[in-house]
Amino acid sequence: MEHHAGPHEPQTGSHVPQPGLHDPRTGSHVPQPGLHDPRTGPDAPEPGLHDPRTGPDAPASGSHDPRTGPDAPEPGPHAPQPGSYDPQTGPHDPHGDPFLSTRFAVPAPPDTFLRRERLAGHLDGALRTPLTMVNGSAGAGKTLLVADWAAGHPELPVAWLTTDTDGQGAGMFWAHLLQALRTCGVPLPGDIASPADANRVGDALPTRLAALLGGRDRPVVLVLDEFDRVTAPEIAAQLDFLLRHSAPGLRLVLVTRTEPLLPLHRYRAAGELTEIRDAELAFTPGEAARLMEAHGLRLSPAAVRGVVERTRGWAAGLRLCALAAEEAPDPELCLKEFEADRSAVADFLLAEVLKRQDDGTQELLLRVSVLDRFGPRLANAVTGRADAEAVLARLHRGNAFVQHVGHGVYRLHPLFAEILRAHLRMRRPGLEPELHRRAAVCLRTAGALPAALGHGAAADDWEFTASALVDDLALGQFFTGPRADILDALFSRMGPRGGDGPAPELVRAAARLSRGDLAGGAVRLRRARERTARYDGPAGETGAAAVRMGCALLDALVARLSGAPGRAEDAVREAEALRDLLPAELLDRHPEFFALLLDHLGSARLWAGDFAGARDALTRAAATGPGAPATALPREDALARLALLDVLHGWPGRAERRARAALAETERSGIARPASSGVERLVLAAVAVEREDLGQARALLDTAGESHPALRDPVLEAGRALVAARLHLARGEPGAAWRAVEPGVPADAVSPWARGETALVAAAAGLAEGRPPDAAALLPEVPRDQPACVVGAARVLLAAGQPEAAVRLLDRAAVDEHAGPSVTVRAALVRARAADRAGDASAVRRLVAHAVAEAHREGLRRPLAEAGSWIRPYLTPTPRHRRPTPPRPTGSPPPPVEELSGRERDVVRRLALAMSTEEIAADLYVSVNTVKTHLKNAYRKLSVGRRSEAVRRARELGLL
């Protein structure tokens, strides 16, 4: 089994190095399939040799299941272009790492595996019932039973997923599930994309997946192994949903130690559950005798019975018995001792088997117990020896302790790993952190960052761990993408001290800022800067450059959050200058870094009123790393802020289209709302106010508050206050409008537009309350270089009885040149009113007709409504009575804020037929609670609170 050598490794539990392979030896990207990771360095064997499918002595079956063959998510052949991402083939989980294909491989039963026909026969029920559960204690033989059964059905598409880490979020779970389906050859359409947020998944994904699987004529068998690690109730609920809506296209097999949270009673009552539990998994004396024979042990029936009684038929216990007896001089005697002993079964047997190994092997087993998965190289790193490869191959052949999970990667059986760790702690007290540290170093060298971080944290070596993160330019992942929460949790164990270099301080700053703690983050960032100065390595060294780069990123964020555009410009200049000091491959691997940086810059410029500069930076941010989950948040935010620029320039139609595009992007990548930027909703609310759709505006504004804490900058705060104020004005609540903007938004630099708009709101409130002079007194606050503000000022002058001054102001500012309809319509109305005062009826008619036509085209109602009653005689009856409709370029109605799912649409349609919730449930064959859930989601998406509103809104949108 020497083929296990390979350039694959070191591999670990969760990670292999990134794709986008950059070969340091050739300086080029590696197109050859099979050349796994050139970064493993000079001792990596020849490319191609490792490929277990071509290897001369590849294992016969199982671990290299043919189904994982050409589509196996190995980084090599699929390596995407740096910075780009293909949702179809991109073998990424939301962590941005290539999937470790061993998670999707059906485990290979060992040579001594005993097929038990009664269990295999029972398991055939999995083909008839939607849900199958194999539920038994650790070491009961669940996994191998299902794996062997699956191997016996080569005609079935079997998607296998071994869940890997405790406490993983819904996003990770679904990303892996999708990858498992892809691996077994189920094609997924483009609208089913991997979630970009590791912890949250929108409703759309399970719904779309259910529709896809439900349409299959041949079922997919989906096996979720070690499902006990999945503890999140929402995952169970989503799986339940998926299963109910995709039967008969999906057969789900759960392999678990604990009772899953799915409503098993319902499946059981409906005869839709195949269940194999501990009692059935237990070996009978006859089976135990056959197992012993497979190990070359011929025992008397009495001895077999004794062992079965002592172990209660527990598979792991029997296997350990066999291993211990196999190597003992007198097997029967060995088993008798075991029978007589009163120790806990696994404890005793494992100690027996362990002590029969030679010292080197014992040491290796103890030490690798801290690793999740490992190749010989990583095993050598923790043992400090060079012979792991042969030892692991031998142990795997003997089996029980060491399982080969394919591609030269091994793992310990979880039960034995746990007990071995107990022995490690006892025999080598204090060694564990050192082992984690060695593993972390080895993995870091191999470029397996996430695994290196995990071990670094376990070693409590924060200097190393933080430096690994910062040197990899991965600091941006604190803010965006699926790893954000994982990093936050990992480094929350770091505490306020620990590590005296700049990196730990920088990580602390990032953690604070990502939670919206500006002051705390700024303090730590300053400290990190001071330490950088002190610790500076030789100029140009990658590490030092990466630290400065990290500082620049956080500087830009601090600048953005505190409204300090100059500082943001400095930070971005610094980052641009450092770019050349860092390997291009590193930058390519982290598109989110510059996406965030540019988004920060654009937003800071936007605050300062540098609209052209903001547009430039935001456009670049929105185009960085297209499609990559890691850049989803900054891209969305940048796009939404471009829409905000459109609003400020008076282009509501354009703003709306852009905001919807941004929302669609978030929906596609499954970012749930609290983690998204929230600016789109603000923009849509502003557009709704312009269209006098005040209920919709209110609903949007209420939800716009749920934005990512690190993106709550002055632009967002001021924008929200101003839109709220405009909404109040439209509702005739001038007092509330003033209160909305009155507190102001704290920022280092003054924002001309925010200040001007605030003054205009105050002036409008003053006018509405009959205080034109107060309103006019506010005008000096209003900047004269921004069309929207100028028109607002002209309107105040007009109301204050100075029509000539108002027109002069408009003429001087040449408003009509670049501004959008919201501005030009108002400008025309100001001129019309002035002409009205001057008694020039034909000019009034011309101007009003122009304004009305333009307003109509954009669906604007607000400018006409706020013009006052003088306009009425000039309006032709038709447009006055007909509600101006929003533009419908394609002839189809505008979509709701988020698309309704098919099921939600079904429910809303039935609502329109005045059916009760119970009637709808009966009609759709679902529970009342399911209907309520759909209703709740539909209300949210339609931004309504009641049935009647939902029906009305759905009609408006043409959904009925």
Binding site: A138, G139, A344, V345, A346, D347, F348, I419, R425, M426
Partner: protein, 65 residues
């Protein structure tokens, strides 16, 4: 809350050390782990620890104060 967890078999020293927060008594073919349990989460954690070590729980009870 004080709890007693009775598991089958006598536990070896390494396994006992996996429960540093609990005291233990070894008796004929059984081990009694007992001590202060901080909260529910801790309790479930202890049960999971037993499970992952392959221990069979015979009895779990809250001890009288």
């Amino acid at each position: 809350m004080r709890y007693e967890i009775r598991v089958e078999g006598q536990l070896s020293e390494p396994l006992i050390r996996m429960f540093p927060e609990l005291d233990h008594v070894t008796m004929a073919g059984q081990t009694l782990l007992f001590g202060q349990v901080v909260d529910e989460a801790h309790l479930y954690g202890l049960l999971a620890r037993c499970q992952s070590l392959g221990l069979r729980i015979l009895e779990l009870r809250q001890a009288p104060r």
